[in-house]
């Protein structure tokens, strides 16, 4: 089960597409089912009442009119029963009411908007997915690669999440400020460190515990030599000496600590110096 899916664009660039998780889909499904069942139950009660209050003794003309209305209600019932999802997903480009509320959408597996055939397939097979209170769908979504229920597998569709990324707020701010995570580049310049290296170091330090020691020991010397190359002169001699020591099993964590220290120092100087500075990015 993946949370992300990749699609190839005609420009030969892979886009990463977030898939809707089972929880989100369950919630969207609950909203739809609630609406759907509510309307159907209402219709059903209406039909039943009609039947009860419409015995054959009615006047002939009344009877004919009523029976036409009654048969219309029956047809409406079946149309909603089979057509609810198909109607909305067709006219709302892959969204039902619940899906729209949860900001998820049905799309083709290879990317692009769903076609009628796919909408029909996934919603006809819904009756099998819906067996045992959608347990069949749940099992299918759990075991499939792209969180697909049986109807999705047959139709070649996936349900994607269209929730705004977390960075929505930051997209309103100035881009250049966000590029360095809010740090004025002035301090970096003092050291002679390029923003690229700074970001690499930063993300290394933040995520170092997710890597195997071997990988860290392989990466560290490269990072250190780059750092010394760019900022060796501006740095404290003692630190430089420490960093120049060979990266071994016992010492690599110390190296990492030093890197963290240097980054902290840069950030500290940053907040001390007047914000803004020149645009180096």
């Amino acid at each position: 089960m993946l949370e992300f899916d990749r699609i190839e664009t005609p420009q030969n660039v892979e886009l990463i597409r977030p898939l809707a998780g089972m929880g989100t889909r369950l919630f969207a499904g609950l909203i739809d089912q609630l609406l759907f069942v509510l309307v159907l139950v209402f219709l059903y009660i209406f039909i039943a009442l009609f039947y009860a209050t419409n015995p054959i003794q009615y006047m002939r003309t009344m009877y004919e009119v009523n029976s036409l209305l009654f048969s219309f209600l029956i047809l409406l019932f079946f149309t909603i029963y089979w057509g609810y999802y198909m109607f909305f997903e067709f006219f709302w480009n892959g969204q039902s009411i619940g899906k729209r509320y949860m900001k998820i959408r049905v799309v083709k597996q290879e990317g692009g908007a769903v076609e009628f055939s796919e909408i029909a397939i996934r919603n006809l097979i819904r009756v099998v997915d819906g067996l045992m209170f959608y347990l069949v769908a749940g099992a299918s979504m759990f075991f499939s690669e792209r969180v697909q229920r049986l109807g999705d597998l047959a139709a070649g569709t996936v349900v994607v999440s269209e929730q705004e990324p977390v960075s929505k707020v930051s997209s309103d701010e100035s881009f250049t400020a966000v590029a360095t995570n809010g740090k004025a580049p002035a301090a970096l310049q003092d050291y002679g460190i390029t923003p690229e290296l700074y970001r690499t170091l930063k993300s290394y330090c933040e995520r170092r515990n997710q890597f195997e020691p071997q990988a860290r020991m392989a990466l560290l010397p490269k990072l250190i030599s780059l750092l010394l190359q760019q900022a060796g002169e501006a740095m404290d001699d003692a630190l430089v000496k420490r960093l120049q020591e060979p990266v071994t099993k016992d010492l690599y964590k110390l190296h990492e600590e030093i890197l963290v220290l240097i980054l902290e120092q840069i950030e500290k100087e940053d907040s001390a110096s007047p914000a803004g500075g020149e645009e180096t990015l």
Partner: protein, 330 residues
């Protein structure tokens, strides 16, 4: 380097974002023709920006933002061409459906074989031992013996009291539900479809045997045929659609199972959707002609015709159509 990139491209992203935002909120119609052109023009360069951002190792938030923007644009731009619904319906029944019907005829034969095997088996069983009939009737089926009591009258007389329109619509809805279920159950490797076909075949067979045992064969068939011939034909087509999916699941051939299922379902779905008008006609017959007082012989002739006309149409239509069409419409 990335600074220049951002400086140059940022306004374009902003523009793209505002256009896409408007489409999300108010639909594609809220854009002018020029703006749609602009969107289509900006999109490819945005996708390239995604790649450049990756190459420049831009910060993750920025990369996500660009990727998301491109995904939204992709979904908007790569969509089906809108075809007039009425025209495509006309074209479907005029050309595509008959062709699809003939292309999938193997499954129809298989479907018929299963149905009639169940029917003949149940009928034989009831003829040999009349009490077996009750094994085949559902518990709610209490009308059978009431019908027998009307031996000197028409079976369909029983239904004359009901208003035709109401009966028709109920029957149409139920039959379409059975057909759609037979299609959907194809995904259980065809087993569910097989059961639906067997069950319906056995019911008809058992009823036929039961009425024969009481010497009521003629009234029975004159009751069943007017609507039943067409109804069974349509159910068999739906069964064929289910078996097509089942086949795709069980025997994927050289493609993957998922791919095979996808291809199979695309062929099958139109096969089953095309049965809707057949059920509508059959339902109207069952509501208005079956219970009517016209002579039994005429009812049988009408019933056979109601099956033969669409059958022959599906066998012959769309053969000479010169313009090239796809088997399954997109």
């Amino acid at each position: 380097m990335s600074g220049l990139f951002l400086k140059e491209r940022e306004p374009i992203w902003k523009r793209m974002e505002s256009l896409l935002g408007r489409v999300d909120k108010r639909g594609l119609k809220s854009l002018t023709e020029d703006e749609i052109g602009e969107l289509a023009h900006l999109y490819p360069s945005l996708v390239v920006d995604v790649a450049r951002a990756r190459a420049l190792n831009l910060d993750e938030t920025r990369q996500k933002y660009l990727n998301n923007l491109a995904i939204r644009g992709h979904g908007l731009l790569y969509r089906r061409k809108k075809v007039p619904i009425l025209y495509s319906l006309y074209r479907f029944f005029r050309v595509d459906y008959p062709r699809l019907f003939r292309a999938q005829s193997v499954y129809l034969l298989l479907s018929a074989l299963i149905f009639f095997l169940g029917g003949i088996g149940a009928c034989a069983s009831v003829l040999l031992s009349p009490s077996n009939a009750y094994y085949f009737f559902p518990a709610s089926f209490d009308t059978v013996d009431e019908d027998l009591g009307l031996s000197d009258r028409d079976i369909s007389d029983r239904y004359r009291g009901n208003p035709g329109a109401t009966m028709s619509s109920g029957i149409i809805g139920n039959n379409i539900t059975v057909a759609f279920n037979a299609f959907a159950l194809g995904i259980t490797a065809g087993l569910g479809t097989l059961l639906v076909l067997l069950k319906n075949g056995m019911l008809i067979g058992a009823l036929a045997g039961h009425f024969h045992n009481y010497g009521l064969s003629y009234p029975f068939w004159s009751f069943i045929t007017p609507h039943g011939a067409l109804e069974i034909f349509a159910i068999l087509i739906a069964g064929a659609a289910g078996l097509r999916i089942g086949h795709a699941v069980v025997v994927p051939g050289s493609s993957t199972r998922g791919r095979s299922l996808y291809t199979g379902a695309r062929e099958a779905v139109f096969l089953v959707l095309g049965t809707i008008p057949l059920f509508v006609v059959a339902g109207i017959i069952e509501g208005f002609i079956t219970p009517s007082t016209i002579p039994n012989a005429l009812k049988i002739v009408l019933g056979v015709a109601a099956f033969l006309v669409p059958f022959l149409y599906l066998m012959s239509a769309g053969r000479t159509e010169s313009d090239s069409t796809k088997m399954v419409r997109d």
